[in-house]
């Protein structure tokens, strides 16, 4: 018992610093984002800005904190380097993609999981087979399709390209979920005179909320972090850039502005980290479900 406790203590002594080192790049970014740029540019090991003393945490000294912590980096990033615009684009892009993906997948999953009809097996087979055909890089035809539709000068182009990928995982999750619901649900609704649409929208769709939540979280994080498609559709159009692409333009234009870069990175990371921490359960269940499928 004592031996085990000693073993566990040694383990904690090694493992806790390991975990801190693991997320240190994130702490570093946070620290640099409130340093003055000259301090950030010359590289400092301290996570806290130069001139910080513990006594500043006393309420009467709070005014000094604002002088030491350069929160102005955030204002600069937001207004001057147009991270405000990038953030707005990313929010619109992510939310729209999530709404469309959920709609597409819930409709598909309901039809596949709840009903049988001629051609169902062909449909499922086609979706699964395309996972194995070499896609090569299909981005050129996708880019051409969006350009031909005349959508490459608005956010709609990248939204459509992002929604267009086959979301096999979500379809399978919805299909399995709907197939597992008891049969009498629909029969009861039908006896009350509800048609196909009513049954779906007032009974089945609300019941599928757990899968909707999982899809929303996974797809939102995926779209927020998406880079390839936004890059292709907005590299020469700063007004359409998302946070990732905007960061790339920012660092190539202002390579020496490390503090501004860090503030931009925090603006990019913070919403998604918060979302992940709050909705961790759905996220973990979703991806655990993926590997079990």
């Amino acid at each position: 018992m004592i031996l085990r406790r000693i073993g566990l203590t040694i383990f904690y002594i090694l493992f806790i610093p390991f975990c801190i080192a693991w997320v240190y790049p994130l702490l570093w970014t946070l620290g640099v984002s409130v340093q003055s740029n000259s301090e950030a540019y010359n590289g400092s090991l301290s996570l806290l800005p130069k001139g910080f003393r513990l006594s500043m945490l006393l309420p009467q000294n709070w005014a000094q904190l604002i002088q030491v912590f350069h929160f102005g980096n955030y204002a600069n990033a937001w207004y001057v380097a147009s991270f405000g615009q990038f953030a707005l684009n990313t929010v619109i892009f992510s939310i729209t993609v999530v709404v469309f993906v959920v709609l597409l997948c819930v409709l598909t999953g309901y039809a596949l999981g709840r009903h049988s009809f001629p051609g169902k097996k062909v449909f499922i087979g086609a979706i699964i087979v395309t996972m194995f055909i070499p896609h090569g890089y299909t981005i050129v035809p996708v880019w051409q399709l969006i350009t031909t539709l005349g959508l490459n000068s608005s956010l709609w182009g990248m939204i459509l390209a992002e929604v267009g990928g086959a979301h096999v995982l979500y379809i399978l999750l919805f299909t399995a979920y709907f197939a597992g619901l008891p049969k009498d649900l629909e029969e009861a609704a039908c006896l009350d005179g509800a048609g196909f649409f009513r049954v779906f929208f007032s009974v089945m769709f609300p019941l599928s909320m757990p899968i909707v939540a999982t899809t929303c979280i996974l797809q939102f994080i995926g779209t927020w972090n998406s880079f390839f498609i936004p890059l292709i559709f907005s590299i020469n159009q700063p007004k359409l850039q998302t946070l990732g692409v905007g960061m790339l333009s920012f660092t190539s234009d202002y390579a020496s502005n490390i503090a501004g870069m860090a503030a931009g990175a925090v603006i990019t990371f913070l919403p998604i980290v918060a979302l992940f921490v709050f909705f961790q359960r759905y996220f973990v269940e979703g991806i655990a479900g993926a590997v079990k499928q």
Partner: protein, 317 residues
């Protein structure tokens, strides 16, 4: 399916026909529900696959419709381009290295986090997982600064005393490649831990207890219960990691952009640069490169699948 609700009299008077009409209506609704997904699927999955094969036979700069048919010249160009093979080699190196680091590493981490005696598992799991949700492109840019001349790592190593003056880490192709592999592994590590944890949790505790009662020790239990039950997960996780690593783009584009002098170029970046990065876009050429790489990665996946099957059979014998 069978939500056909028919009144009693309807069943008496030729209900069969009514029922089938009802059923037809349901089929129609099903097709209606599948329609949006089908349209998107045809437009953004089937058409791009077919079109990229078609375009690969043209000399085409992406303006208008391709007209300059050149047969297999794009393919010949790809196959005889040393930069393509350089990128190809880097892609494979990156993939093999990340698989070797991540797949067993994540298993060890999952075994640690699966230990019931450990306190604060959720906090540890959250921390280990955190890099996964970060935007890869931004991570690449942050890391570029951390490994820069005045960056964090030079300062740290000088403070410890391992370095006397700063080093330009990213000026060496070998070091840049090693860093890419380490950062890529770090970034995708957490998700594989979750996969392994899902796998470990399918091994029921009853089997363990039974084995414990029969006198099997920790190592025997791991060898004879955990390992065989985890093999399907090993295969799936290896395939997922392989796939992810073959398609690495964001990190390479932002961290090294393929440099120094194409030393860390990978095939997705090579394709991107041919299609979108140069003054004269070579769309057809990019398609051909994509197809050559697609076939190579498919062969690897098939190989892994066959290996898995053979391994699975031997295990059941």
């Amino acid at each position: 399916m069978d939500i056909g609700v028919v009144s009693q009299s309807a069943i008496e008077h030729g209900g069969k026909r009514l029922l089938s009409r009802q059923q037809k209506r349901i089929h129609l609704f099903c097709y209606l529900f599948l329609l949006p997904q089908t349209v998107m699927y045809l437009a953004f999955t089937i058409w791009p696959i077919l079109a990229s094969y078609y375009y690969s036979f043209f000399n085409w700069d992406g303006v208008g419709w391709p007209t300059d048919f050149i047969g297999f010249q794009n393919y010949q160009g790809v196959i005889s381009d040393p930069f393509f093979w350089g990128a190809f080699q880097n892609s494979f190196l990156y993939t093999i290295a990340t698989v070797i680091l991540v797949v067993p590493g994540a298993l060890i981490m999952a075994l640690i986090l699966n230990n019931r005696k450990l306190k604060g598992v959720i906090v540890f799991r959250t921390l280990i997982f955190l890099p996964v949700v970060l935007t890869m492109a931004v991570v690449g840019l942050v890391m570029q600064d951390m490994f820069g001349y005045n960056g964090f790592f030079n300062r740290l190593l000088m403070w410890i005393g391992l370095l006397h003056q700063p080093v330009e880490w990213l000026n060496s192709a070998i070091i840049a490649m090693v860093l890419l592999i380490l950062i890529g592994s770090w970034k995708g590590f957490g998700i594989k831990v979750i996969y392994w944890l899902a796998g470990l949790q399918t091994v029921s505790t009853e089997i363990y207890e039974a084995a414990h009662v029969d006198g099997a020790n920790v190592i025997q239990r791991f060898r004879h219960i955990t390992v065989p039950m985890l093999i399907p997960f090993l295969i799936v996780i290896t395939i997922l990691q392989t796939n992810e690593s073959f398609h690495v783009f964001d990190l390479v584009r932002t961290f090294t952009n393929g440099g120094p002098f194409f030393g860390t170029d990978v095939v997705p970046l090579y394709i991107y640069n041919n299609a979108f990065g140069s003054l004269v876009p070579r769309m057809g050429y990019a398609c051909a490169a994509g197809i050559v790489f697609g076939i190579a990665t498919l062969l690897v996946s098939l190989g892994l699948g066959l290996l898995a099957r053979r391994f699975g059979q031997r295990n059941t014998l």
